[in-house]
């Protein structure tokens, strides 16, 4: 008989019904008993949602409608697409290919050119607010990771794989926002994003599972730099800016540019 299934495999089997585990359970009384206990517990977990009134949808709409009326109307937007990291990357690669092809055709036979730094600039129409909203969302997510880590008890072996992966995802995004802030000479935001980036890299370099001591050290580093506090302060400023720029948007045309830096 193959090895016993781990508790994690049994839990995942409860939700995913993996074929291999099913076969093992049929032959192994030990795992089968353990699985029965897990199933009994998980099946008993219910968390009923309070009944909503019959006219809930109408009530919801009546409270939502005034807020939607003052919100910006959704229309197909070029800017939103540009703000998605994946699309930045695609746009960047395409831009690089175009420039590389041009340079190769024109100069390669004569001499080699160093790799250029390509800047693809977005049109210059009120995109500051969109950028601020994106930075605000980014800081929201960063704050969530920092709060999670700060509040995780540093005992035994701790699985921080989810936080580590979130941090990894946020590093590139953070770099782009930091570079934009530096280019726009927005020193305050740039400095905080710089610090955030180091912390995110620090988190992402940890293994999926850390000891209590390692987590404690990480928590101390986060705490000693006051990153969480700075993120919250800058987040509220960014959100305030995004709100004020929204109200000013119709009468002013921002000169801020969203670069795609390769």
């Amino acid at each position: 008989m193959s090895r016993h299934l781990s508790e994690q495999e049994l839990v995942i089997h409860f939700y995913e019904q993996a074929g291999n585990a099913e076969r093992h359970l049929a032959d192994c009384p030990t795992c089968s008993a353990e699985f029965a206990q897990i199933r009994a517990t998980l099946s008993a977990i219910d968390y009923p949602v309070p009944e909503r009134p019959a006219d809930y949808e109408a009530q919801l709409w009546s409270t939502l409608k005034p807020r939607l009326d003052v919100a910006e109307s959704p229309t197909a937007s070029v800017w939103h697409g540009l703000l998605q990291p994946r699309k930045w990357a695609i746009a960047g690669v395409l831009a690089l290919l175009v420039v590389a092809a041009f340079l190769a055709g024109r100069y390669l036979p004569r001499h080699e050119q160093p790799s250029p730094v390509v800047k693809v600039e977005a049109p210059k129409t009120g995109n500051d607010r969109v950028l601020m909203v994106a930075v605000g969302d980014h800081l929201d997510r960063t704050e969530m990771i920092l709060v999670e880590l700060a509040n995780t008890p540093a005992e035994g072996k701790i699985d921080i794989s989810a936080e580590r992966e979130l941090a990894q995802n946020l590093v590139n995004e953070n770099r782009l926002y930091r570079q934009t802030a530096q280019r726009d000479k927005d020193t305050e935001i740039a400095n905080v994003l710089d610090q955030v980036e180091r912390v995110l890299i620090d988190i992402s370099h940890h293994p999926d599972s850390v000891s209590g001591k390692e987590l404690e050290e990480l928590q101390q580093r986060i705490q000693s730099q006051g990153v969480l506090f700075k993120v919250r302060v800058i987040e509220s400023k960014v959100k305030a800016r995004s709100r004020s720029e929204k109200t000013e948007a119709p009468k002013s045309s921002s000169n801020s540019q969203l670069p795609i830096v390769i």
């Binding site: 839990v11 995942i12 995913e16 008993a44 009923p48 969530m144 709060v147 979130l166």
Partner: protein
């Protein structure tokens, strides 16, 4: 003919903003259910529902046709709930009443008899206790654990869908769900064990 989610989205983007109501009517209750299970109270859940539809409206242009609208909406709702939970922690408002921590049930006095078809008064009382314990246990999960657990256990979302909500790999989702289940088991199994013992002695 009933408007599909995609068609309603297209109409809103084309300027017919009233069509957004179709989406609110269709998904409002489900979003409330998710929000309630994640936040643990009606007031916060209502706030999450409002914020979810507001964000959804503002970002409707970023909805990609290849994904399901409800999955996309769930992602927004989960993020809104996570934001609110983070804010609650920031505000030092603890959702869990500290007294409930010590409110341990005496296993010898309480049993859970899931095999009993008729819910007698004892069983109903115990079901209420169990619900309370489940609520308490869920409040002790971290925000990410609670999101993963609620989406998988109550909402039946797939591992990859949860991964896209949390922006992590499937393996990390599985680890997070396991962590959550382990904590729930620690809280609930003393009751389950006593239930088994009690049933056996009858």
């Amino acid at each position: 003919m009933e408007l599909t989610d995609r068609a309603a989205v297209d109409e809103v983007l084309a300027g017919k903003h009233e069509s957004f109501r179709v989406l609110v009517d269709r998904h409002g209750r489900k979003v409330f259910g998710l929000a309630y299970r994640m936040t643990g109270n009606e007031h916060d859940a209502d706030e999450v529902v409002q914020e979810t539809f507001l964000r959804c409206y503002k970002r409707l242009d970023s909805f990609e046709a290849r994904s399901s609208f409800s999955t996309w909406l769930y992602r927004i709702a989960s993020n809104c709930a996570l934001d609110l939970l983070a804010k609650r922690k920031q505000d030092k408002i603890h959702i869990v009443d500290p007294e409930t921590r010590d409110d341990q049930l005496n296993p010898e006095e309480h049993t859970l008899d899931y095999a009993t078809p008729q819910p007698g008064p004892e069983r109903m009382l115990l079901s209420a206790e169990l619900r309370k314990r489940v609520g308490d246990a869920m409040q002790r999960l971290t925000a990410v654990e609670r999101t993963a657990f609620v989406l998988r256990h109550f909402e039946g979302r797939s591992i990859s869908e949860i991964g896209s909500v949390l922006k992590v790999r499937d393996e990390a989702v599985k680890n997070t769900i396991f962590r959550a289940v382990k904590k729930m088991r620690t809280e609930l199994e003393p009751l389950m064990a006593s239930s088994t013992v009690q049933r056996g002695s009858r």
